[in-house]
Symmetry: C2
Subunit: 511 residues, 2 copies
Amino acid sequence: MNRREMLKLSSYAVAAASAPAVAESAAPSGGGIVARWDCIELSFTGPASGNPFVDVALNASLRHKNRALTVEGFYDGDDSYKVRFMPDELGEWTWTTASNNPSLNGKSGAFLCVAPGEGNRGPVSVRDDYHFGYADGTPYVECGTTCYAWAFQARETQRQTIDTLSTSPFNKLRMCIFPKWYEFNRQEPPMYPFPRSGGVNDYSRFNAAYFQHFDRLILELRHIGVQADLILFHPYDKWGYQSMPAEVDDRYLRYVIARFSAYRNVWWSLANEYDLMKAKTNTDWDRYARIVGDYDAFGHLRSIHYSRHQYEYWRGWCSHAGVQDSRMDLGASWRQDWRKPLVFDECRYEGNIASRWGNLSGDAMTRRFWQATAQGAYCGHGETYLWPDGILWWSHGGVLHGTSPARIAFLRKLLEETIALGTGPIGFTSVAEDPMGARRTNDSVIFYYFDEHQPAEQTYLLPAGKTYTAEYIDTLKLTRTPLPGEYSGKATVKLPGTPWGSLWFREKGVV
Amino acid sequence: MNRREMLKLSSYAVAAASAPAVAESAAPSGGGIVARWDCIELSFTGPASGNPFVDVALNASLRHKNRALTVEGFYDGDDSYKVRFMPDELGEWTWTTASNNPSLNGKSGAFLCVAPGEGNRGPVSVRDDYHFGYADGTPYVECGTTCYAWAFQARETQRQTIDTLSTSPFNKLRMCIFPKWYEFNRQEPPMYPFPRSGGVNDYSRFNAAYFQHFDRLILELRHIGVQADLILFHPYDKWGYQSMPAEVDDRYLRYVIARFSAYRNVWWSLANEYDLMKAKTNTDWDRYARIVGDYDAFGHLRSIHYSRHQYEYWRGWCSHAGVQDSRMDLGASWRQDWRKPLVFDECRYEGNIASRWGNLSGDAMTRRFWQATAQGAYCGHGETYLWPDGILWWSHGGVLHGTSPARIAFLRKLLEETIALGTGPIGFTSVAEDPMGARRTNDSVIFYYFDEHQPAEQTYLLPAGKTYTAEYIDTLKLTRTPLPGEYSGKATVKLPGTPWGSLWFREKGVV
């Protein structure tokens, strides 16, 4: 930072001091200094009478040089109005509010956006058509898991979930905003999203405390580098949230977007199993997609999840396909059809419950990750071991018991070892007979997954003019065995002839 | 046998003595006595000049009471003409020949068909829509393997193949009538089906010795109780047999039918990978099917095998579907669509060669058998381990090296333990969440295959009014563990929570 910047910085610091109080410690106050891709929160006092959720409109226009953005504010209860923003450019930003309430209208200020701190790589977006990357350029190797209803568990379980995630391979968490009523999930949540009395929801208001709790959880995930894949609607409901009036759905979406979209780790999933929500039509889903598109100023990743009727992922609004499917072998062709990243968000879970979707062996769950990876797609984990205290990771969080997470960590490490090579995405290639071979487009790394096959040797046509070393990997035993010699041109490789192997070619002198 | 039958028998024995000589020790001579479903061969001397294969027409009409059948005869070289017949009814049969050659015309005789000896259960046909049974009523649990080109190997290897088969679980063998030119199969056969000189085939004649060799092999298979699934055409050819003139194809089919159809263990497969035979059209395949239908007087089982373009198995001519496919999970729906027995004749092989179709692990091969079985279908085995002497079971026969045969034997034994219960076929049921549960229609045996799933318990709705015992089977470790207690109605079963298991309910007092 040079002297002139330091001067500027100190003047912003003064401005910050006179700004409204900060609600979240992780969100710098309006005015002042904010790190790139962090959340700045402008906080105002306004009317508490009437129904501020419906009566009061508030937004802020933000400018950076010649660029202007508008984000909606929201009422957070107790006279408090907030506007949240995630600056994506370094330097000075100015802001002005507009409101139908004079006390909130025409406020203005400025803040300085500075370089992000360690661990802050910005939001994730699509990279190289089929892949993901952080805004700072770092590739993001998607590696997700699922704790649908962790937000409604005891605080102690939530802390345990964060601890578990922080040492796990998982960098995305699928989670519901509405509470869940389902097998293993038969209890009332500690709070409701709308005021509720005698079984009746007051859909005209939000329960600010309910959403403040989600602020906390999303920020805890952000702190440990985990993407929060927020599921906006789902059918496992006994309270009425799956069949609210259309104007309530829309207000809910705008409220959630106003609150959460300034958190860089947010992804939107319109629904879990949208096709099981009988009260909703395709027109509704189109409208929800449009609302997310219109009000999310930051363009977070967005998708939708199905049960039986596969969603039309070619539609323009979705950034990627987040499928529920176990037909792993169709990955390569779907990816090609849709021209987007493909994530097998749900392909059954490791566990031992009675339902087929929740009793895969750890080997089988691991296999799915490799099958997806070798087709240039991504996979999702979940765990459903019956545990005496009734805590199943898949819904409640807590701790992990299975054998797949260590194997998934091993796979993620393998992928990340070489992904920093830069521009080359992992892409599907037809070099192998079957679609279980993948390589970086720059050909520096080429790998094959043998799945249930056990060839004693294989012959490859390696890219011209390059020399490779080879490594044989046992994807279940987690052994890495360098193979003797160097390989180029038409190369025959002797292999151990065991199943669940993977062969990695790495370009000599490059990797 | 009563006294009157004994008298009759002795008169036939006299008749036999004056009949032409017997070419095959396993085929009783024309006249005399033949066991039900054995082959009786009428042998005549006729003209050797000109081209007997084309010039001479010969058939025999056979009568049993009011039933009449006609079968074609064939020229076997060296002045020798033969008519073969497999009587399917006990008692007296009479026969009369018809020929355009006076020396073969109007011959007649009679023979007595007596009860079959041990191990002779008659030919296999379709039973209970989706299954197979021997003509004597014994169920036939199809359990096939493949040695495409064993007929062209050293005689020592052929003997070894028979030895191996006789102690294996396999009761059907897929084998080509034409020699094979393909990977691992790059040598000239010891004989050719047509006279061949300077690379030119004389399609107007057959090489009788070539087909006599097949007589021998089919009878050796018959002797050890193995069905010979004869593949009539295939594309892996360097000699011209894949693209012969239409009239040669037709003459070849009639010759093969005349020679082999009186062997009770014959099945017809029109082709291996019919869709790779570019010289043939759908009209050709229709014609071949009609020829088999017209000239095979015994109605042997008949199907066709594809590579990429699935055959339309709903067509009336095929008795069963003999698919090449690894999409095991589609078994139940295909079976339902086609309303025929479904055999996954080729679903890749256990082995370690470079090609994906030939390097499944033994576990994976075993899994396919269980997947097919649990859908009420059947599976086919093959083995392609690289062996120093270049003998791969899948094509050459020899010995087996893999881990799946013992597991397949275990499965076949399990199925056969209870199949003698009689009328109840193993049928697909939707009792389970996924289509991996099957039961006899009489509900005395109900079983589930858990595949890659590992439930710690499952709840079943057992058929009303019946009480069952339960057994847990590890399909890979081959352990059988009786589960404590009895089960009826809505029954919850505690399970070990390991993958590759199978649960068997057997009705108490019945099984």
